[in-house]
Amino acid sequence: MMEITEGSHAVAEAVRLCRPQVISAYPITPQTHIVEALAEMVANCQLDAEYITVENEFSALSACIGASAAGSRTYSATTSQGLALMFEVCFNAAGMRLPIVMSIANRALGAPLSIWNDQQDSISLRDSGWLQFYAEDNQEATDLHFLAYRVAEDHSILLPAFVCFDGFILSHTYEPIDMISQEDVDRFLPKFSPYERLDAADPISFGMYATPEYYHEFRYEMDRVLKQSKAIIQKTGKEFSRMFGRDYSAMVEGYRLEDAETAIVALGSICGTTKDAIDEMREEDKKVGLLKIRVFRPFPTEDVAKALAHVKNVAVLDKNISLGAKGALALEIKDALYSSGIPVKDYIIGLGGRDVRKKDIKAIVALVEKDQGDIFYGLRREVL
Protein backbone atom coordinates (compact mmCIF):
# COMPACT_ATOMS: atom_id res chain seq x y z
CA MET A 1 0.00 0.00 0.00
CA MET A 2 1.27 3.49 -0.88
CA GLU A 3 1.74 5.78 2.08
CA ILE A 4 3.70 8.95 2.65
CA THR A 5 6.17 8.71 5.48
CA GLU A 6 9.62 9.72 6.66
CA GLY A 7 12.53 7.69 5.31
CA SER A 8 13.71 6.62 8.76
CA HIS A 9 10.25 5.45 9.73
CA ALA A 10 9.86 3.54 6.47
CA VAL A 11 13.18 1.81 7.16
CA ALA A 12 12.10 1.00 10.73
CA GLU A 13 8.86 -0.47 9.40
CA ALA A 14 10.77 -2.55 6.84
CA VAL A 15 13.02 -3.83 9.61
CA ARG A 16 9.95 -4.72 11.72
CA LEU A 17 8.57 -6.71 8.78
CA CYS A 18 11.86 -8.64 8.59
CA ARG A 19 11.11 -9.93 12.14
CA PRO A 20 14.54 -9.42 13.72
CA GLN A 21 14.80 -11.27 17.03
CA VAL A 22 17.50 -9.09 18.55
CA ILE A 23 18.12 -5.37 17.97
CA SER A 24 20.96 -3.46 19.52
CA ALA A 25 21.83 0.10 18.58
CA TYR A 26 22.98 3.40 19.98
CA PRO A 27 21.24 6.58 18.81
CA ILE A 28 23.21 9.03 16.67
CA THR A 29 22.09 11.77 14.27
CA PRO A 30 20.75 11.23 11.60
CA GLN A 31 20.03 7.55 12.36
CA THR A 32 18.08 8.30 15.56
CA HIS A 33 14.54 8.17 14.17
CA ILE A 34 15.05 4.57 13.00
CA VAL A 35 16.04 3.19 16.38
CA GLU A 36 13.52 5.34 18.28
CA ALA A 37 10.76 3.90 16.10
CA LEU A 38 11.99 0.33 16.58
CA ALA A 39 12.30 0.76 20.35
CA GLU A 40 8.70 1.98 20.39
CA MET A 41 7.55 -1.00 18.30
CA VAL A 42 9.22 -3.41 20.72
CA ALA A 43 7.77 -1.58 23.74
CA ASN A 44 4.29 -1.66 22.17
CA CYS A 45 4.56 -5.39 21.36
CA GLN A 46 4.31 -4.65 17.63
CA LEU A 47 7.64 -6.37 17.21
CA ASP A 48 8.60 -9.48 19.16
CA ALA A 49 12.30 -8.75 19.60
CA GLU A 50 14.84 -8.27 22.33
CA TYR A 51 15.98 -4.62 22.22
CA ILE A 52 19.34 -4.42 23.97
CA THR A 53 20.22 -0.90 25.10
CA VAL A 54 23.95 -0.34 25.30
CA GLU A 55 26.42 2.40 26.20
CA ASN A 56 27.92 2.87 22.74
CA GLU A 57 28.16 1.54 19.20
CA PHE A 58 31.03 -0.83 19.93
CA SER A 59 28.76 -2.64 22.38
CA ALA A 60 25.74 -2.43 20.08
CA LEU A 61 27.39 -4.40 17.31
CA SER A 62 29.11 -6.68 19.82
CA ALA A 63 25.68 -7.56 21.25
CA CYS A 64 24.52 -8.31 17.71
CA ILE A 65 27.50 -10.62 17.22
CA GLY A 66 26.60 -12.60 20.33
CA ALA A 67 22.93 -12.78 19.39
CA SER A 68 23.64 -13.73 15.79
CA ALA A 69 26.10 -16.43 16.86
CA ALA A 70 23.41 -17.77 19.18
CA GLY A 71 21.14 -18.16 16.15
CA SER A 72 19.02 -14.98 16.08
CA ARG A 73 18.20 -12.66 13.21
CA THR A 74 19.83 -9.42 14.37
CA TYR A 75 19.72 -5.78 13.37
CA SER A 76 21.55 -2.56 14.12
CA ALA A 77 21.77 0.94 12.66
CA THR A 78 24.34 3.67 12.89
CA THR A 79 26.26 6.34 11.00
CA SER A 80 29.48 8.36 10.95
CA GLN A 81 31.40 8.36 14.27
CA GLY A 82 29.17 5.52 15.47
CA LEU A 83 30.27 3.34 12.59
CA ALA A 84 33.87 4.44 13.16
CA LEU A 85 33.58 3.21 16.74
CA MET A 86 32.39 -0.15 15.36
CA PHE A 87 35.40 -0.53 13.07
CA GLU A 88 36.89 -3.47 14.91
CA VAL A 89 33.52 -5.11 15.54
CA CYS A 90 32.61 -4.85 11.83
CA PHE A 91 35.66 -6.89 10.88
CA ASN A 92 34.81 -9.41 13.59
CA ALA A 93 31.18 -9.80 12.48
CA ALA A 94 32.27 -10.47 8.92
CA GLY A 95 35.14 -12.75 9.96
CA MET A 96 32.75 -14.82 12.07
CA ARG A 97 30.44 -14.98 9.03
CA LEU A 98 27.42 -13.59 10.89
CA PRO A 99 24.61 -12.27 8.65
CA ILE A 100 23.81 -9.13 10.65
CA VAL A 101 22.02 -6.37 8.72
CA MET A 102 22.79 -2.77 9.64
CA SER A 103 21.30 0.42 8.22
CA ILE A 104 23.73 3.27 7.67
CA ALA A 105 22.19 6.76 7.47
CA ASN A 106 25.28 8.07 5.72
CA ARG A 107 27.04 11.03 7.36
CA ALA A 108 30.43 12.72 7.21
CA LEU A 109 33.22 11.86 9.67
CA GLY A 110 34.92 14.34 12.01
CA ALA A 111 37.02 16.25 12.67
CA PRO A 112 35.76 18.88 12.07
CA LEU A 113 32.41 17.71 13.41
CA SER A 114 29.72 17.47 10.76
CA ILE A 115 26.29 15.97 11.20
CA TRP A 116 25.57 16.29 7.48
CA ASN A 117 25.63 13.79 4.65
CA ASP A 118 28.38 12.25 2.65
CA GLN A 119 29.34 8.59 2.27
CA GLN A 120 32.76 8.58 3.90
CA ASP A 121 31.53 6.43 6.80
CA SER A 122 30.41 3.28 5.00
CA ILE A 123 32.99 3.67 2.23
CA SER A 124 35.72 3.62 4.89
CA LEU A 125 34.51 0.13 5.88
CA ARG A 126 34.76 -1.19 2.33
CA ASP A 127 37.49 -3.72 3.24
CA SER A 128 35.65 -5.23 6.20
CA GLY A 129 33.81 -8.02 4.37
CA TRP A 130 30.30 -6.52 4.68
CA LEU A 131 28.04 -6.32 1.66
CA GLN A 132 27.21 -2.68 0.87
CA PHE A 133 23.92 -1.66 -0.76
CA TYR A 134 23.17 2.01 -1.59
CA ALA A 135 19.66 3.43 -1.99
CA GLU A 136 18.64 6.18 -4.40
CA ASP A 137 15.31 6.89 -2.68
CA ASN A 138 13.34 5.73 0.33
CA GLN A 139 11.49 3.05 -1.63
CA GLU A 140 14.80 1.46 -2.45
CA ALA A 141 16.07 2.01 1.11
CA THR A 142 13.16 -0.04 2.49
CA ASP A 143 13.23 -2.75 -0.18
CA LEU A 144 16.97 -3.28 0.13
CA HIS A 145 16.52 -4.42 3.73
CA PHE A 146 14.46 -7.43 2.59
CA LEU A 147 17.05 -8.19 -0.05
CA ALA A 148 19.98 -7.71 2.33
CA TYR A 149 18.68 -10.26 4.86
CA ARG A 150 17.98 -12.83 2.16
CA VAL A 151 21.44 -12.51 0.62
CA ALA A 152 23.34 -12.22 3.91
CA GLU A 153 21.64 -15.29 5.40
CA ASP A 154 22.04 -17.46 2.30
CA HIS A 155 24.07 -20.46 3.45
CA SER A 156 26.48 -20.04 0.57
CA ILE A 157 27.20 -16.42 1.66
CA LEU A 158 26.84 -15.83 5.45
CA LEU A 159 28.25 -12.32 5.55
CA PRO A 160 26.82 -9.17 7.16
CA ALA A 161 25.33 -6.34 5.10
CA PHE A 162 25.05 -2.54 5.23
CA VAL A 163 22.00 -0.89 3.74
CA CYS A 164 23.22 2.66 3.12
CA PHE A 165 20.88 5.59 2.61
CA ASP A 166 21.92 9.22 2.67
CA GLY A 167 21.51 10.85 6.07
CA PHE A 168 18.95 13.69 6.18
CA ILE A 169 18.59 13.72 2.37
CA LEU A 170 16.70 10.43 2.59
CA SER A 171 16.42 9.67 6.30
CA HIS A 172 14.51 12.88 7.12
CA THR A 173 12.51 13.15 3.89
CA TYR A 174 8.80 12.43 3.67
CA GLU A 175 7.86 10.78 0.39
CA PRO A 176 5.47 8.10 -0.84
CA ILE A 177 6.49 4.49 -0.17
CA ASP A 178 4.87 1.28 -1.29
CA MET A 179 5.23 -0.86 1.84
CA ILE A 180 5.04 -4.61 1.38
CA SER A 181 2.63 -6.51 3.63
CA GLN A 182 3.85 -8.78 6.42
CA GLU A 183 2.42 -11.77 4.58
CA ASP A 184 4.42 -10.95 1.44
CA VAL A 185 7.61 -10.24 3.37
CA ASP A 186 7.22 -13.61 5.10
CA ARG A 187 6.91 -15.29 1.71
CA PHE A 188 10.06 -13.59 0.46
CA LEU A 189 12.13 -13.79 3.64
CA PRO A 190 11.74 -17.08 5.49
CA LYS A 191 12.65 -17.54 9.15
CA PHE A 192 16.38 -17.28 9.86
CA SER A 193 17.99 -20.67 9.77
CA PRO A 194 21.51 -20.39 11.18
CA TYR A 195 24.19 -22.49 9.52
CA GLU A 196 26.05 -22.88 12.82
CA ARG A 197 25.10 -21.56 16.23
CA LEU A 198 26.31 -21.43 19.78
CA ASP A 199 24.77 -24.30 21.69
CA ALA A 200 25.80 -25.28 25.21
CA ALA A 201 24.95 -28.91 24.46
CA ASP A 202 27.19 -28.98 21.40
CA PRO A 203 29.86 -26.33 21.95
CA ILE A 204 31.66 -24.62 19.06
CA SER A 205 33.71 -21.40 18.84
CA PHE A 206 33.38 -18.40 16.54
CA GLY A 207 36.25 -16.08 15.61
CA MET A 208 39.05 -18.07 17.16
CA TYR A 209 42.75 -17.52 16.87
CA ALA A 210 44.23 -18.14 13.41
CA THR A 211 47.93 -18.71 13.04
CA PRO A 212 49.77 -17.77 9.82
CA GLU A 213 48.99 -21.27 8.53
CA TYR A 214 45.25 -20.42 8.48
CA TYR A 215 44.58 -16.65 8.49
CA HIS A 216 45.46 -16.13 4.82
CA GLU A 217 42.85 -18.73 3.82
CA PHE A 218 40.18 -17.15 6.03
CA ARG A 219 40.54 -13.84 4.14
CA TYR A 220 40.56 -15.72 0.81
CA GLU A 221 37.31 -17.46 1.70
CA MET A 222 35.60 -14.17 2.60
CA ASP A 223 36.72 -12.61 -0.66
CA ARG A 224 35.62 -15.65 -2.66
CA VAL A 225 32.22 -15.70 -1.00
CA LEU A 226 31.68 -11.95 -1.45
CA LYS A 227 32.41 -12.32 -5.15
CA GLN A 228 30.14 -15.34 -5.30
CA SER A 229 27.38 -13.29 -3.69
CA LYS A 230 26.96 -11.33 -6.95
CA ALA A 231 25.04 -14.24 -8.45
CA ILE A 232 22.91 -14.57 -5.30
CA ILE A 233 22.15 -10.82 -5.27
CA GLN A 234 21.01 -11.00 -8.90
CA LYS A 235 18.94 -14.13 -8.36
CA THR A 236 17.32 -12.76 -5.19
CA GLY A 237 16.71 -9.39 -6.83
CA LYS A 238 15.00 -11.16 -9.72
CA GLU A 239 12.79 -13.06 -7.32
CA PHE A 240 11.92 -9.78 -5.56
CA SER A 241 10.95 -8.15 -8.84
CA ARG A 242 8.79 -11.15 -9.81
CA MET A 243 6.94 -10.90 -6.49
CA PHE A 244 6.70 -7.13 -6.04
CA GLY A 245 7.41 -5.56 -9.43
CA ARG A 246 10.42 -3.47 -8.46
CA ASP A 247 13.51 -4.73 -10.22
CA TYR A 248 16.68 -5.10 -8.16
CA SER A 249 18.13 -7.94 -10.23
CA ALA A 250 21.04 -5.82 -11.46
CA MET A 251 23.79 -4.46 -9.24
CA VAL A 252 24.15 -1.48 -11.58
CA GLU A 253 21.36 0.37 -13.34
CA GLY A 254 21.62 2.46 -16.49
CA TYR A 255 19.54 5.58 -17.09
CA ARG A 256 19.43 6.86 -20.70
CA LEU A 257 22.77 5.15 -21.06
CA GLU A 258 22.19 3.08 -24.24
CA ASP A 259 23.30 5.81 -26.66
CA ALA A 260 25.17 8.02 -24.18
CA GLU A 261 28.58 9.46 -25.04
CA THR A 262 29.17 10.80 -21.56
CA ALA A 263 28.32 8.64 -18.58
CA ILE A 264 27.98 9.80 -15.00
CA VAL A 265 28.57 7.14 -12.36
CA ALA A 266 27.18 7.64 -8.86
CA LEU A 267 26.02 6.03 -5.61
CA GLY A 268 22.93 6.84 -3.57
CA SER A 269 20.48 9.74 -3.54
CA ILE A 270 22.54 11.93 -5.86
CA CYS A 271 21.32 9.64 -8.67
CA GLY A 272 17.84 11.23 -8.48
CA THR A 273 19.01 14.79 -9.05
CA THR A 274 21.37 13.47 -11.73
CA LYS A 275 18.48 11.85 -13.62
CA ASP A 276 16.59 15.17 -13.66
CA ALA A 277 19.71 16.95 -14.90
CA ILE A 278 20.17 14.29 -17.61
CA ASP A 279 16.59 14.76 -18.84
CA GLU A 280 17.26 18.49 -19.25
CA MET A 281 20.59 17.92 -21.00
CA ARG A 282 18.92 15.39 -23.33
CA GLU A 283 16.47 18.12 -24.36
CA GLU A 284 19.52 20.08 -25.50
CA ASP A 285 20.63 17.00 -27.49
CA LYS A 286 23.48 16.19 -25.13
CA LYS A 287 24.08 12.46 -25.11
CA VAL A 288 24.44 11.94 -21.37
CA GLY A 289 23.45 8.97 -19.25
CA LEU A 290 23.82 7.64 -15.72
CA LEU A 291 25.19 4.42 -14.36
CA LYS A 292 23.88 3.98 -10.85
CA ILE A 293 25.84 1.64 -8.62
CA ARG A 294 23.46 -0.10 -6.23
CA VAL A 295 25.96 -2.55 -4.77
CA PHE A 296 29.43 -1.28 -3.85
CA ARG A 297 30.57 -4.49 -2.12
CA PRO A 298 30.88 -6.88 -3.81
CA PHE A 299 31.90 -4.46 -6.55
CA PRO A 300 30.20 -5.27 -9.88
CA THR A 301 33.38 -4.75 -11.94
CA GLU A 302 32.26 -6.82 -14.96
CA ASP A 303 28.80 -5.19 -15.04
CA VAL A 304 30.38 -1.73 -15.02
CA ALA A 305 32.78 -2.62 -17.84
CA LYS A 306 29.88 -3.95 -19.91
CA ALA A 307 27.52 -1.05 -19.21
CA LEU A 308 30.12 1.61 -20.06
CA ALA A 309 31.86 -0.15 -22.98
CA HIS A 310 30.37 2.23 -25.58
CA VAL A 311 30.85 5.63 -23.91
CA LYS A 312 33.50 8.27 -24.68
CA ASN A 313 33.78 9.92 -21.25
CA VAL A 314 33.07 8.85 -17.71
CA ALA A 315 32.49 11.28 -14.83
CA VAL A 316 32.44 9.63 -11.40
CA LEU A 317 30.73 11.44 -8.53
CA ASP A 318 32.30 10.57 -5.20
CA LYS A 319 30.77 11.66 -1.89
CA ASN A 320 33.93 10.42 -0.22
CA ILE A 321 37.65 10.89 -0.63
CA SER A 322 40.42 8.40 0.01
CA LEU A 323 42.71 11.22 1.11
CA GLY A 324 45.98 11.21 -0.74
CA ALA A 325 44.49 9.18 -3.61
CA LYS A 326 41.02 9.57 -5.20
CA GLY A 327 37.37 8.94 -4.51
CA ALA A 328 36.78 5.29 -3.74
CA LEU A 329 34.17 4.83 -6.47
CA ALA A 330 36.44 6.37 -9.13
CA LEU A 331 39.22 3.93 -8.24
CA GLU A 332 36.80 1.04 -8.82
CA ILE A 333 35.54 2.48 -12.11
CA LYS A 334 39.09 3.09 -13.36
CA ASP A 335 39.90 -0.50 -12.49
CA ALA A 336 36.81 -1.79 -14.31
CA LEU A 337 37.59 0.24 -17.46
CA TYR A 338 41.39 -0.11 -17.40
CA SER A 339 41.75 -2.26 -20.49
CA SER A 340 39.12 -0.28 -22.44
CA GLY A 341 41.12 2.94 -22.46
CA ILE A 342 37.95 4.99 -21.80
CA PRO A 343 38.93 8.13 -19.89
CA VAL A 344 37.53 8.30 -16.35
CA LYS A 345 37.50 11.53 -14.34
CA ASP A 346 36.70 11.84 -10.67
CA TYR A 347 34.70 14.60 -8.99
CA ILE A 348 34.65 14.80 -5.21
CA ILE A 349 31.30 16.35 -4.46
CA GLY A 350 28.85 17.10 -1.68
CA LEU A 351 31.14 16.41 1.27
CA GLY A 352 29.77 17.23 4.72
CA GLY A 353 26.32 18.08 3.37
CA ARG A 354 27.25 20.55 0.60
CA ASP A 355 24.10 20.65 -1.53
CA VAL A 356 24.32 19.15 -5.03
CA ARG A 357 22.11 20.76 -7.67
CA LYS A 358 21.22 19.96 -11.26
CA LYS A 359 23.49 22.80 -12.39
CA ASP A 360 26.42 21.11 -10.63
CA ILE A 361 25.81 17.89 -12.56
CA LYS A 362 25.65 19.87 -15.80
CA ALA A 363 28.88 21.70 -14.93
CA ILE A 364 30.60 18.37 -14.30
CA VAL A 365 29.45 17.04 -17.67
CA ALA A 366 30.92 20.15 -19.31
CA LEU A 367 34.19 19.59 -17.42
CA VAL A 368 34.54 15.92 -18.34
CA GLU A 369 33.87 16.70 -21.98
CA LYS A 370 36.84 19.10 -21.82
CA ASP A 371 38.90 16.35 -20.18
CA GLN A 372 39.07 18.27 -16.90
CA GLY A 373 38.55 16.29 -13.74
CA ASP A 374 40.11 14.42 -10.82
CA ILE A 375 39.18 17.42 -8.70
CA PHE A 376 37.25 18.54 -5.67
CA TYR A 377 34.26 20.07 -7.42
CA GLY A 378 32.90 23.44 -6.32
CA LEU A 379 35.69 24.50 -3.96
CA ARG A 380 35.11 27.86 -2.26
CA ARG A 381 38.49 29.33 -3.13
CA GLU A 382 37.84 32.39 -0.95
CA VAL A 383 38.10 30.34 2.25
CA LEU A 384 41.23 28.45 1.28
Binding site: L170, T173, T273
Partner: protein, 180 residues
Protein backbone atom coordinates in the same frame (compact mmCIF):
# COMPACT_ATOMS: atom_id res chain seq x y z
CA UNK B 1 6.77 20.64 -10.29
CA UNK B 2 5.84 23.24 -7.69
CA UNK B 3 8.06 24.03 -4.73
CA UNK B 4 7.43 25.55 -1.31
CA UNK B 5 10.02 27.00 1.06
CA UNK B 6 9.11 27.62 4.69
CA UNK B 7 11.14 30.06 6.78
CA UNK B 8 10.80 29.98 10.53
CA UNK B 9 12.72 29.84 13.75
CA UNK B 10 13.64 26.64 15.59
CA UNK B 11 10.65 25.57 17.69
CA UNK B 12 7.96 27.11 15.46
CA UNK B 13 7.16 23.84 13.74
CA UNK B 14 8.38 24.61 10.21
CA UNK B 15 9.47 21.02 9.63
CA UNK B 16 6.16 19.67 10.92
CA UNK B 17 4.33 22.10 8.63
CA UNK B 18 6.30 20.85 5.62
CA UNK B 19 5.60 17.22 6.53
CA UNK B 20 1.89 17.74 7.06
CA UNK B 21 1.49 19.77 3.87
CA UNK B 22 3.16 16.88 2.00
CA UNK B 23 0.89 14.36 3.70
CA UNK B 24 -2.19 16.41 2.76
CA UNK B 25 -0.98 16.86 -0.83
CA UNK B 26 -0.39 13.12 -1.18
CA UNK B 27 -3.94 12.46 0.01
CA UNK B 28 -5.04 14.73 -2.82
CA UNK B 29 -3.37 12.44 -5.34
CA UNK B 30 -0.08 14.17 -6.16
CA UNK B 31 3.44 13.09 -5.40
CA UNK B 32 4.95 15.13 -2.59
CA UNK B 33 8.32 15.35 -0.92
CA UNK B 34 9.04 17.22 2.32
CA UNK B 35 12.38 17.71 4.02
CA UNK B 36 14.13 20.11 6.37
CA UNK B 37 17.13 22.31 5.61
CA UNK B 38 19.36 20.11 7.59
CA UNK B 39 20.72 22.22 10.41
CA UNK B 40 21.60 21.95 14.02
CA UNK B 41 18.30 22.23 15.84
CA UNK B 42 18.37 25.26 18.11
CA UNK B 43 15.38 27.16 19.41
CA UNK B 44 15.08 30.58 17.83
CA UNK B 45 17.65 30.02 15.09
CA UNK B 46 16.50 30.60 11.50
CA UNK B 47 15.38 27.31 9.92
CA UNK B 48 13.98 26.26 6.57
CA UNK B 49 11.87 23.37 5.39
CA UNK B 50 10.82 22.45 1.87
CA UNK B 51 7.97 20.75 0.04
CA UNK B 52 7.79 19.66 -3.59
CA UNK B 53 4.57 18.76 -5.44
CA UNK B 54 4.44 16.98 -8.79
CA UNK B 55 2.25 14.73 -10.90
CA UNK B 56 5.09 12.24 -11.24
CA UNK B 57 7.65 10.72 -8.87
CA UNK B 58 10.01 13.37 -7.50
CA UNK B 59 13.67 12.47 -7.93
CA UNK B 60 15.36 15.80 -7.25
CA UNK B 61 17.06 15.99 -3.86
CA UNK B 62 18.66 19.43 -3.78
CA UNK B 63 17.25 22.21 -1.60
CA UNK B 64 14.66 24.64 -2.96
CA UNK B 65 16.19 27.76 -4.51
CA UNK B 66 13.40 28.97 -6.83
CA UNK B 67 10.17 28.38 -4.93
CA UNK B 68 6.67 28.91 -6.26
CA UNK B 69 5.49 29.47 -2.71
CA UNK B 70 7.08 30.87 0.44
CA UNK B 71 5.77 30.82 4.00
CA UNK B 72 7.42 33.13 6.54
CA UNK B 73 6.44 32.13 10.06
CA UNK B 74 8.22 35.02 11.74
CA UNK B 75 8.39 38.41 10.03
CA UNK B 76 11.39 39.44 12.14
CA UNK B 77 13.38 37.04 9.91
CA UNK B 78 12.90 39.36 6.94
CA UNK B 79 15.63 41.74 8.11
CA UNK B 80 18.13 38.90 8.78
CA UNK B 81 17.47 36.39 6.01
CA UNK B 82 16.70 37.00 2.35
CA UNK B 83 13.49 35.03 2.65
CA UNK B 84 12.15 36.08 -0.76
CA UNK B 85 15.28 34.96 -2.63
CA UNK B 86 14.62 33.14 -5.88
CA UNK B 87 10.82 33.25 -5.69
CA UNK B 88 9.29 32.67 -9.12
CA UNK B 89 7.21 35.26 -10.97
CA UNK B 90 3.57 34.50 -10.29
CA UNK B 91 4.57 33.02 -6.96
CA UNK B 92 2.81 33.47 -3.63
CA UNK B 93 4.41 34.62 -0.38
CA UNK B 94 2.56 34.19 2.92
CA UNK B 95 3.92 36.19 5.86
CA UNK B 96 2.80 35.89 9.46
CA UNK B 97 2.54 39.48 10.72
CA UNK B 98 0.06 41.83 12.32
CA UNK B 99 1.81 44.84 10.78
CA UNK B 100 1.49 46.60 7.47
CA UNK B 101 4.50 45.41 5.45
CA UNK B 102 7.47 47.80 5.24
CA UNK B 103 9.22 45.44 2.80
CA UNK B 104 8.57 44.59 -0.83
CA UNK B 105 8.26 41.19 -2.45
CA UNK B 106 9.77 40.83 -5.94
CA UNK B 107 7.68 42.08 -8.84
CA UNK B 108 4.95 39.73 -10.04
CA UNK B 109 4.79 37.96 -6.70
CA UNK B 110 1.63 38.00 -4.60
CA UNK B 111 2.05 38.87 -0.92
CA UNK B 112 -0.49 37.64 1.62
CA UNK B 113 -0.11 38.74 5.22
CA UNK B 114 -1.98 37.09 8.05
CA UNK B 115 -1.83 37.52 11.80
CA UNK B 116 -1.27 33.85 12.51
CA UNK B 117 0.16 34.55 15.97
CA UNK B 118 -3.11 36.09 17.24
CA UNK B 119 -5.13 33.28 15.63
CA UNK B 120 -2.87 30.66 17.27
CA UNK B 121 -2.95 32.36 20.68
CA UNK B 122 -6.75 32.40 20.63
CA UNK B 123 -7.34 28.92 19.17
CA UNK B 124 -4.45 26.96 20.69
CA UNK B 125 -3.34 29.15 23.57
CA UNK B 126 0.25 29.12 22.30
CA UNK B 127 2.06 31.26 19.71
CA UNK B 128 2.62 28.18 17.51
CA UNK B 129 1.73 29.48 14.06
CA UNK B 130 2.48 26.58 11.76
CA UNK B 131 -1.03 25.14 11.62
CA UNK B 132 -2.66 28.54 10.93
CA UNK B 133 -0.20 29.10 8.13
CA UNK B 134 -1.00 25.66 6.69
CA UNK B 135 -4.63 26.76 6.52
CA UNK B 136 -3.59 30.01 4.82
CA UNK B 137 -1.43 28.02 2.39
CA UNK B 138 -4.34 25.72 1.50
CA UNK B 139 -6.57 28.71 0.78
CA UNK B 140 -3.99 30.75 -1.12
CA UNK B 141 -2.54 28.05 -3.37
CA UNK B 142 -5.10 25.26 -3.72
CA UNK B 143 -2.24 22.74 -3.51
CA UNK B 144 -3.98 20.98 -0.62
CA UNK B 145 -7.62 20.55 0.30
CA UNK B 146 -8.69 21.73 3.74
CA UNK B 147 -10.23 18.31 4.45
CA UNK B 148 -6.87 16.65 3.69
CA UNK B 149 -5.14 19.07 6.04
CA UNK B 150 -7.70 18.22 8.69
CA UNK B 151 -6.97 14.51 8.26
CA UNK B 152 -3.23 15.10 8.46
CA UNK B 153 -3.61 17.09 11.70
CA UNK B 154 -5.95 14.49 13.20
CA UNK B 155 -3.44 11.79 12.36
CA UNK B 156 -0.45 13.65 13.83
CA UNK B 157 -1.80 15.13 17.07
CA UNK B 158 -3.73 13.81 20.07
CA UNK B 159 -7.44 14.59 19.80
CA UNK B 160 -7.68 17.78 21.93
CA UNK B 161 -4.59 19.29 20.34
CA UNK B 162 -5.81 18.33 16.86
CA UNK B 163 -9.17 20.06 17.44
CA UNK B 164 -7.46 23.32 18.50
CA UNK B 165 -5.00 23.24 15.61
CA UNK B 166 -7.72 22.48 13.08
CA UNK B 167 -9.64 25.47 14.44
CA UNK B 168 -6.57 27.70 13.99
CA UNK B 169 -6.05 26.38 10.46
CA UNK B 170 -9.73 26.89 9.62
CA UNK B 171 -9.75 30.52 10.80
CA UNK B 172 -6.69 31.35 8.70
CA UNK B 173 -8.14 29.42 5.75
CA UNK B 174 -11.38 31.41 5.94
CA UNK B 175 -9.61 34.77 6.27
CA UNK B 176 -7.46 34.11 3.17
CA UNK B 177 -10.42 32.66 1.21
CA UNK B 178 -12.54 35.67 2.21
CA UNK B 179 -9.89 38.13 1.08
CA UNK B 180 -9.46 36.43 -2.29
Amino acid sequence: MRELRIHGRGGQGSVTAAELIAVAAFEGGVFAQAFPAFGVERRGAPVQAFVRFDDKIIRKRSQVYEPDYIIVQDSTLIKDVNVFQGVKKGGIVIVNTEKIPDYKVPEGVKLITIDATTIALKAIGLPITNTSLMGAFAAATGEIKFSALENALNHRFPKDLAIKNIEAARQAYNIVKGAA
